[in-house]
């Protein structure tokens, strides 16, 4: 690229210094701040996971005490869900891309965006404080009455931490909704929006409508644990199952907070790596909304054996099955997009293929759990653990890493070594399957989750799983290694290394502070690869 003297500086260089970063209102810088923080929390969560897997090498509970083990999986779950996966794509890629894809200079409320990062940090610090003060042992689900009455660990502190982090997530969603409604560039109609925006919009709806409920619920648990308020206390007539209703009213939709952004990323990537209009654009767009909305009606599928009424169970089960259909629509449309595409074999493609495979397995095993009679056997076994890791790690994390690899040149202006990119994708894929495939088997055999010690006959499968986790861990560490290393190299990325469509690829890598020199006007549909080829052909 030709650097003219008076060309505005990139967002990375324009004002320099620590304060200019910590007080920045630039959505792109906030995205990077988030990226660093969630990576730290991913590593913390992964360390807990390494602890879990190491303990489960042997059937006896020998490495850690039972209490210690319980704290390990609780914190693993809490950190991974609330401090890693929920903010992962929205707060990093979303923050970076939503304004750019809208053709706007920033999010609608830049200060609130910064506030959300600080709230996240405060929440995370409080929860980590709970770790240092001795940990929490309730499981990430905080079920009452154990959490409110029986556990003598730092439940209140951890709950308050999650409560505050919840507000950071609400603020992110709120910013996205307003930005997408009010700040789109002229010509950017709803059905010209990139599918990533649709996905972020749907995700934001869930954040806004669901998160407050879990916040107040955790507050009730805190009030009960700290002050003796008896809202879920059976001794005064309170119902512990009410907690489960309130918790899952948020936490089931929250699983879509974790996967919808990933689906959005994959939709972008599929189109870009095959240089093709996405197959069935409007179906993919609407299915995001369908998942977000119908996803609010199925929470009771976590409670089939909790003593909820069988009739409520029927309703939850049938809607659970229905909500699988929009996911199916997306999967088939991605596949069809590849048909007669022009598919590159660069690293994003590896992540796309990995995602589709693993998400499929994760999603399909959700159907086993949604069938009531079968869930009776599977509930709270390792089958469930395998199911959600397939979706959250195989789906969510793969999509996140795919997105990071795809937009890395745009975000940092640097490229990373392609070969390492491919090797790590394969390592993660193989390691992942080794870790979690055996858990389906051991789960159907009946091994319950949250078990510190287990019967001997389950050992071999658990050893395989731990071995797989080591491979997986190496894959992750490799990625972090070369991405960090690339930051120390000179900027060498071009504006559009993939030859992709989209407003973000029309501006320099890395972009300038206000993204666009000239306010963009959109005149064509998203993913208009054919039209673009036409244009260059005509020249």
């Amino acid at each position: 690229m030709n650097h003219a003297v008076n060309e505005p500086r990139s967002y990375l260089d324009a004002p320099y210094g620590v304060a200019s970063w910590l007080l920045t209102k630039d959505h792109k810088r906030i995205a990077l701040l988030y990226l660093i923080s969630i990576t730290v929390f991913f590593l913390i969560g992964a360390l807990f996971a390494a602890g879990i897997r190491a303990e489960l090498m042997t059937p006896e509970g020998d490495l850690f005490t039972a209490d210690m083990y319980n704290k390990l999986f609780t914190l693993h779950g809490v950190v991974m869900v609330f401090f890693f996966l929920i903010p992962s794509i929205p707060a990093t890629l979303g923050n970076f891309l939503v304004p750019i894809m809208c053709g706007a200079k920033d999010l609608a409320f830049p200060k609130i965006n910064l506030l959300s990062w600080y709230l996240y940090l405060i929440g995370a610090t409080l929860t980590l404080g709970a770790v240092f003060m001795g940990g929490v042992d309730t499981g990430w689900t905080f079920y009452t009455p154990y959490s409110s009455m029986a556990s003598n660990t730092n439940v209140t502190l951890a709950a308050v931490g999650v409560f505050i982090a919840g507000f950071s997530s609400i603020l992110t969603g709120f910013n996205f909704v307003v930005t997408i409604h009010r700040m789109r560039a002229p010509g950017l109609t709803w059905f010209r929006m990139p599918l990533f925006l649709w996905a972020m919009y749907a995700t934001s709806l869930v954040m806004i409508l669901g998160t407050p409920v879990v916040a107040i619920t955790l507050l009730m648990v805190g009030a009960e644990a700290a002050l003796g308020f008896g809202i879920f206390d059976p001794r005064v007539g309170g119902d512990p199952v009410l907690f489960q209703h309130l918790f899952w009213f948020y936490s089931h939709p929250a699983v879509y907070i974790m996967i919808l952004p990933g689906m959005g990323v994959i939709s972008e990537l599929v189109a870009a790596v095959s240089r093709k209009q996405i197959f069935g654009y409007s179906f993919v767009a609407y299915s995001s909304l369908a998942i977000a909305i119908i996803g609010f009606l199925v929470w009771g599928h976590h409670m089939f054996v909790s003593s909820q009424s069988i009739y409520a169970g029927l309703v939850f089960s049938i809607i659970t099955m229905i909500v699988a259909v929009p996911s199916a629509v997306k999967t088939f449309n991605w596949t069809a997009t590849l048909y007669r595409g022009s598919i590159t074999w660069e690293s994003p493609t590896y992540w796309v293929i990995g995602f589709i495979g693993l998400f499929l397995v994760g999603g399909l095993t959700g159907l086993f759990l949604g069938a009531m009679g079968l869930d009776v056997h599977l509930h709270d076994t390792y089958f469930v653990v395998a199911h959600f890791h397939y979706i959250m790690v195989g789906g969510g994390v793969m999509a996140f890493l795919g997105g990071v690899h795809f937009w890395w040149p745009k975000m940092t202006g640097r490229t990373y070594p392609e070969t390492l990119g491919k090797i790590s994708a394969v390592l993660v894929f193989v390691g992942f399957n080794l870790t979690f495939l055996p858990q389906f088997v051991v789960g159907y055999l009946g091994m319950p989750r949250r078990y510190h010690a287990y019967p001997e006959e389950f050992q071999i499968l658990n050893v395989v799983s731990t071995g797989g986790a080591s491979v997986l861990g190496i894959g992750y560490l490799l990625i972090i290694g070369y991405l960090v290393a690339s930051m120390f190299k000179p900027r060498n990325a071009t504006a559009n290394p993939w030859g992709a469509t989209g407003l973000e690829w029309d501006i320099p890598s890395p972009p300038t502070t206000f993204n666009f020199e000239i306010d963009p006007v959109v005149t064509e549909d998203a993913y208009n690869y054919a039209g673009r080829a036409q244009k260059t052909g005509d020249n």
């Binding site: 209490d67 154990y146 009455m149 629509v329 069809a336 495979g357 009776v376 709270d380």
Partner: protein, 311 residues
């Protein structure tokens, strides 16, 4: 027990093979789609790989017919799964009328079992094969969950109420019992064994156990020692309602509501008597919260259930 490296659980109850059948059905559907989609993705990715750097894909926008196809097929399959799963769940939820009653109480961190004959055991459960067993579950502290993988049954024990599950063991053997709801430090130690026996062996075993009376007898004794009898008499002279025939009847309450007197109603009437006050009575019955253990409660309920008005 099992081999040292099992890959599939034993099936030792009447429902186990039905559950497995549904499992295989969904497995087959899943395998079909997983293989189909994965194969297509890899096939397309290879077949349509980029040949030269400026190439773009074909300009295909979609197809309504295809979209409908892959909405409808998964929907229909999912509905099959739903109905199958739901009907199986109904089977699992409704114990046969002739089932024998066993009481199980979960408590951090053990399972206390009480047979109808009054024999008790801890962390073990002896059952005869071929006979439906209905388990009434209670909890003394937090949530627990009684899980017998070989029988494919599981149910939460919820403090503050009673829950039910049932099974018919079909194969003699010893099987795992796990606590499947996280309940604190020794959650993974809250395990035990079901010992399924030939009926005659079971009779012998139960005969050899030492008891302090059957559950109903114990309940009757409690009814006197806890002074229930001072208010609940068999004629109208008591301050409380006559309890004969109350189980299963429809009770009129003070505030105009009507409830069916099931086990949970009886439980609540004893532990939190003022929650539902019977019409034309005063809310004077004291709470027995803290005085009666969950097991005693089950005995009292067993006794009240046997009370019948003279013909």
């Amino acid at each position: 027990m099992q081999s040292t490296f099992p890959l599939f659980p034993q099936a030792a109850s009447s429902v186990a093979s039905e559950v497995d059948l549904l499992y295989f059905f969904i497995l087959a559907v899943s395998a079909f789609f997983a293989i189909l989609v994965s194969a297509l993705v890899v096939f397309f990715a290879v077949k349509y790989r980029r040949r030269h750097p400026d190439e773009v894909g074909h300009d295909i926008h979609g197809s309504i017919a295809l979209e409908l196809l892959w909405c409808v097929i998964p929907f229909v399959l999912a509905m099959v799964m739903f109905f199958w799963g739901a009907s199986l769940y109904f089977t699992l939820a409704r114990p046969p009328a002739d089932a024998m009653d066993i009481f199980v109480v979960g408590k951090q961190w053990m399972w206390k079992v009480q047979h109808p004959s009054g024999v008790r055991e801890i962390n073990e459960l002896h059952v005869p094969i071929g006979r439906p067993v209905r388990i009434t579950l209670g909890s003394e502290d937090v949530l627990h969950d009684y899980y017998i993988p070989a029988f494919r049954v599981k149910m939460d024990a919820v403090p503050g109420k009673l829950t039910t599950m049932w099974f018919t063991a079909t194969k003699v053997g010893t099987y795992h019992i796990f606590c499947a709801e996280y309940c604190g430090t020794q959650h993974s130690g809250m395990i035990g064994q079901v010992i399924a026996m030939e009926p005659q062996d079971y009779e012998a075993w139960i005969g050899g156990g030492r008891t302090t009376g059957t559950a109903v007898e114990n309940g009757e004794r409690l009814f006197t020692t806890m002074a229930c009898i001072t208010c609940h008499k068999t004629d109208t002279s008591g301050r409380g309602p006559i309890l004969s025939d109350v189980f299963g009847s429809t009770v009129d309450l003070q505030d105009g509501r009507q409830v069916v007197a099931d086990e949970n109603y009886l439980r609540e009437s004893i532990m939190n008597p003022q929650a539902k006050v019977v019409r034309e009575f005063q809310p004077i019955m004291p709470t027995f919260q803290g005085t009666l253990s969950e097991e005693n409660l089950l005995q009292l309920i067993a006794y009240i259930k046997t009370l019948k008005a003279p013909q």
